[in-house]
Each structure stands twice: as C-alpha cells, then as structure tokens.
C-alpha cells in the first residue's frame, strides 16, 4: 500500500462483503420459497425477499465500486485522497440508509408517510429520506475523488472510472421522479437501471479491469489505454440506445422494437472486447504476479460477463424472440449470470487483489480463494443452465401452447429444485470466499508446492 488513504477501501470492502453474504442468503431463501411457497409467507413475503436480494446486490456492488475507487485513485493520481474523513462519513450515510430501507420494508414502518414510508413501487423503492441520503453520499464521493484526481495525475483509467461514477450518480436522480402512470414509471426506471448496468457501469468495469491488468500482467499502460478507449466507445454506442430493448411491451411506440433489437444486439461487442482484452494482456504480460486469485477472478469476470451479459442477453434481446420469452425464467437465467459475471466477479477480483495489500499479508492464502471461485462459478453456471432449460419449457408451454401460468410452474418444479441446489453451492462458495479473505493468517499451500507433485 503506497498511500495511507487507500485504507478507506478496507471499510468499504468489509461492508460490501457483509451485504454480499446477506444478498446470497436472501437469494437462497427466495429459491426455497419457489419450491416451498408457504415458507415464511406471513413473516417475510416473497416480494420483500426478492427486493432484499436484488437491492442488497446493487448496494454491495456500488459499495465495492466506491471502495475500488478509493483504493486505485490514489495510486493513479499519485496522491492521497482529498478527505478520508468525508469518505468515512459517506460510508456511514450509506450504511444508515441501507439499514433504514431493510427495517422499513421488513416491518412496513411509517406506512403512507411521504418522507419515511414506502413509495409502493416495484423498483427504485426506497423511502424518500434514504434517496436523499444516497444523493448526499454520492455528492460527497464525487467531490472527494474528483478533487483528488484534479489535483493529481490524470490517467485514462481514473478519467474513465470518474466518468462512470459521475454517470452512476447523475442517473440515480431519475429515481426521484415517481409518475402515477406505470408505463412512464418503468420508462424512467430503465433510465436508471439499464443505463447503469449496460452503460456507465461498463465504464467502471472496464477501468477496474484495466487497472488490474496493468498491475497483474505488467503490460504497457499505453496498450491498456488504447483497449480501454475502444471498449468504452463500443459500450456507450450500443448501450445507450440499447435501452430500447426494455421498451418493447410497456406501451412505448413500436419503433423501439427495432431500435432496441439492433442496438442491444451490438452490446455483445464491448463484452467480447473486454474478454479479448483480458486474455491478450495475460498472454502478452511479462510479469508473473504472485496474486493468482485476483488474476483468476479477473479472467473469470471477463469471460462470464461475455457469456452472461453478452450471449445470454442476446439470446432474448430480439423483439421477435422476446415476444415469447419476456419475463420467463430465461430472463432470470440471464440476470443471474450477467450480474455474477460482470459485476460480482469484478468486485471479488478487486477484493482479492486489494485485501491482502490492505491487510499487509501480500499475497496470502490464494488456494481457498481460488477454490471459492470454482465453487461459486460452477454453482452459478449450473443455475444459469437450469433456468435456461426451465425457461425454454416454460416459454413453450405458457406462451406457445397457452397453458395456465400456475400449471406450467408445477411442470417446471424440477428445475426450481435444481436451482435451489445450485444456490446452496453458490452460498457455500460465497462463505468460503469471505472466510478465505478474513480468517487464515498464513498460506494454506506454500507457493510452488502445488506444482511439484505433477512433475
């Protein structure tokens, strides 16, 4: 650790990992409710569990991004973070807000209250005071990192990371607009979520991956930057109008069907480019960095993002296909692998790289961490296949033949059981990851020992 203020990332990563565990446990619970629908139905209804599962995901990913920014910006800008105090204040605001959301929903506090209660929306559902808190925290963050970069060295990596983070914060402002018309509500919802995950978050992803590649492979910065610009251009070109693929059936004009189909098909390109980038950098790299776990997560991130976001997204993005598959388990399959590949693996990659440095144990205990990669990834890939097959059967029975929704659900129960099983594996993998980061104090297997028996 070159700069003292990089330590801020430690607190962010710790909270992010705690929420990660809550998120996957919530997912496991939701998976159980799928196969045993009355489980906890009075105490914690499915809609609340689902909301916790998806919102906890978004919150911990963003906390991870903030932590990653506090970790890598001092190194890129070659100076300390402008104000570590503000950075911790920002984290406290976000944690209080998150707890506020969880308590408000679980116990339905302050029902009907404009400021303190639920808004009654399917998405972008936080009490107003929490939304305001998020904006204040985001402003503190942007002020803090922008001041650091403005006073320090400006690199392509930090510029693109900042562009992505500014976009993330500004687009959230659409969450305040709550029209009575449900179609309009959805239209603006996608301004936030689509333009996040298929727009500005891709900039964050590309810049963090570029940073990791720079550190792990030792390739020249100039080459990394050229790739970075091309990836970012391709991501924004396809991603912004690609929003149209959410506007097929919500009451928006028909031309969105073609705009959405064509532009969102091109969204595969930046993900393919990120995968190509990661592998080309590793092949070209001269440095044999000892942190193999961070490299594994980085390559896994680029590969699984290509398949989860790119291939599985393209699978149902054309409106002629989506007419049948919309809202089936095909969507769930894509959602799981895309978020896991692109953003979960990205965060776990930067955690795996940064945590040993932050704890002054560089590098240690890579074996358990790598084991958690394979456990979590195989669980998630199996879940994706199961949901894809289940979704295909569901699409045919429900949308082609026209069977009743609940009859079809009974027919595909076997897939939900297998999904629950793969969910157990993912949770075990996640727990193993957290354990491997925090608990062991020395290498489980000494470097080099693993290769000896094979020779």
């Amino acid at each position: 650790m070159k700069y003292e203020s990089q330590k801020i990332a430690y607190a962010y990563f710790a909270v992010a990992m705690a929420l990660f565990v809550i998120q996957v446990l919530g997912g496991l619970l939701a998976g159980l409710i799928y196969v045993s629908p009355n489980f906890l139905s009075e105490l914690l209804p499915f809609n609340i569990v689902r909301m916790l599962h998806t919102n906890a995901l978004i919150v911990w990913l963003i906390l991870g991004f903030f932590g990653a920014a506090y970790f890598l910006i001092p190194e890129e800008a070659e100076r300390e973070i402008h104000s570590p105090k503000l950075a911790y204040l920002q984290l406290i605001i976000l944690v209080v807000g998150t707890l506020g959301v969880v308590l408000t929903y679980t116990f339905n506090l302050f029902e009907g209250n404009w400021l303190l209660g639920k808004e009654g929306r399917e998405f972008l559902e936080q009490p107003k005071w929490v939304k305001a808190g998020i904006v204040v925290a985001a402003l503190i963050f942007l002020y803090n990192v922008s001041m650091t970069v403005l006073k320090g060295k400006k690199t392509a990596i930090s510029n693109i990371l900042l562009l992505g983070l500014w976009g993330l914060a500004l687009l959230f402002l659409f969450a305040f607009y709550n029209p009575g018309n449900l179609a309009l509500d959805k239209q603006y919802w996608w301004y936030v979520v689509h333009l996040w995950v298929e727009g500005v978050w891709e900039l964050i992803m590309a810049s963090i991956l570029a940073y990791l590649m720079l550190k792990l492979t030792g390739v020249d910065r100039e080459i990394v930057e050229k790739w970075l610009y091309v990836i970012v251009a391709a991501a924004l070109f396809s991603g912004i109008l690609g929003t149209g693929h959410h506007y097929y059936w919500i009451g928006t004009p028909a031309y969105w069907q073609w705009i959405g189909s064509i532009f969102s098909s091109l969204e595969v390109i930046p993900f393919f480019a990120m995968m190509a980038f990661a592998f080309v950098m590793v092949w070209k790299g001269r440095r044999d960095h000892p942190n193999k776990a961070a490299l594994l997560w980085s390559l896994g991130c680029a590969t699984l993002a290509f398949f989860g976001a790119g291939v599985w997204g393209f699978l149902h993005t054309l409106h002629g296909v989506n007419y049948y598959t919309h809202g089936t388990q095909i969507t769930a399959a894509h959602g799981h692998l895309a978020f896991y590949g692109a953003y979960v693996c990205l965060n776990l990659a930067i955690f795996s790289y940064a945590m040993p440095i932050l704890k002054n144990r560089d590098p240690y205990n890579q074996v358990l961490n790598m084991g958690s990669f394979w456990l979590m990834t195989s669980g998630m890939v199996f879940m994706t296949f199961v949901l894809t097959f289940g979704g295909t059967v569901q699409t045919h029975m429900q949308r082609v033949i026209g069977d009743y929704f609940m009859d079809v659900q009974d027919q595909i129960a076997i897939f939900y059981w297998m999904r629950f099983g793969s969910g157990v594996v993912v949770v075990l993998g996640a727990l193993l990851f957290v354990y491997s980061i925090w608990v062991p104090r020395k290498e489980v297997i000494e470097p080099g020992a693993a290769e000896t028996p094979a020779e």
């Binding site: 080459i223 610009y229 091309v230 391709a234 070109f237 073609w258 189909s261 064509i262 091109l266």
Partner: protein
C-alpha cells in the same frame, strides 16, 4: 505487438474507425431487417414506396457525393498548406449538407401533409428510422465539418472527412434499397 502495428497503420483516428464500423453495423442491420419484413408484404411495400420522391433523393445523392469530394479535396489542400482553399472546400461541403437536409425536410413535410407517419405502414417505420437516423448524422456532420474548418489541423480535417464519408456511404446504401428497389 503485431496487432498494434496493424492498428497504427490505419489513417485517421482509431476511435473514429470504431464509430464507423458500429454505424455500418447498425444501418446494415436496419437494412437487413427492412428487406426481411419486406418479404412478408411485397405489394404493400411497393405501394408505400410509390409515395417517395425519387428525383429529390437522386438529387440528394449527387449533393452528398459532391460534398464528400469537397471534404476529401480539403484534406489534400491542407496537406500542401493551402489553408484558404481547404477552408472554403470544408464550408462548401457543410453547406451542401444543409442543402441535403432542406430537400429531405421538404420530403418529410410532404409526407406529413399527406397524413403519412411511422405507424402508416411498416415500410414507413423503416423509412423514418433509417433516413431519420441518417439525417441526424448529416446534421452532426455539418457541425463537425464547420468545427474542423475552424480548427483546421490536417489531422482534424482527416477525422472530420472520415466521418463525412461514412455519412455519404450510408446514404449510398439507403438510397437504392429504400427508394429504388422494385
């Protein structure tokens, strides 16, 4: 670094090439979709097409190609340090872009007067999407040409001409498929 040297040999700006390839993919996919949907209703598409102004569009083709020639000529002049003719060529190219937009605008106005819009027939949905996106690029191109006539570094002019030729090329693909194909 074999791939890096290959990329370095490209004239103009790498990111502009990324944009050009992306645009060609979008318009290519749009035209392919148009042809595909046309197969489902050849008679309806032919009837709808008869409402278009072929002469105006043919004239517009000549306008854009001439404008493209002027942009290319501007770069050649600038490279031999003839800044004034280069600037005049760029501004003329931009003005021809404006001429294109005026002719296109009268065609749109005429359609509107006939009560034709993007919901009239699938043909017109594609007509408005493809020519509308293209017209937006012409507008952007006019701005870019004026910008590089002001900041008239040879490298800037090359990038501007790169963009303008793409706009040209896209129109040359759109014109026969949308207006002429019988």
């Amino acid at each position: 670094m074999s791939d890096a040297s290959l990329i370095d040999e490209l004239p103009g700006e790498l990111l502009m090439w990324v944009l050009i390839i992306s645009e060609l993919l979008v318009f290519g996919a749009g035209l392919a979709a148009f042809m595909g949907v046309r197969l489902t209703d050849p008679a309806g598409f032919a009837e709808a097409q008869s409402h278009l102004h072929r002469t105006g569009a043919a004239f517009n083709t000549a306008v854009l190609v001439t404008s493209g020639y002027l942009a290319a000529q501007a770069l050649r002049w600038r490279q031999v340090a003839r800044r004034v003719p280069a600037r005049i060529a760029l501004i003329s190219a931009a003005l021809l872009g404006v001429v294109f937009l005026i002719i296109k605008g009268t065609e749109y106005a005429d359609k509107a007067a006939q009560g034709i819009n993007y919901e009239t027939h699938p043909f017109f949905l594609f007509y408005y999407l493809l020519t509308g996106f293209h017209a937006a690029h012409v507008l952007a191109g006019v701005g870019i040409l004026l910008l590089v006539s002001w900041r008239d570094d040879a490298r800037n002019i090359e990038v501007g001409a790169q963009f303008w030729h793409m706009v040209d090329l896209v129109w040359i693909m759109l014109f026969p498929v949308i207006y002429l194909l019988g």
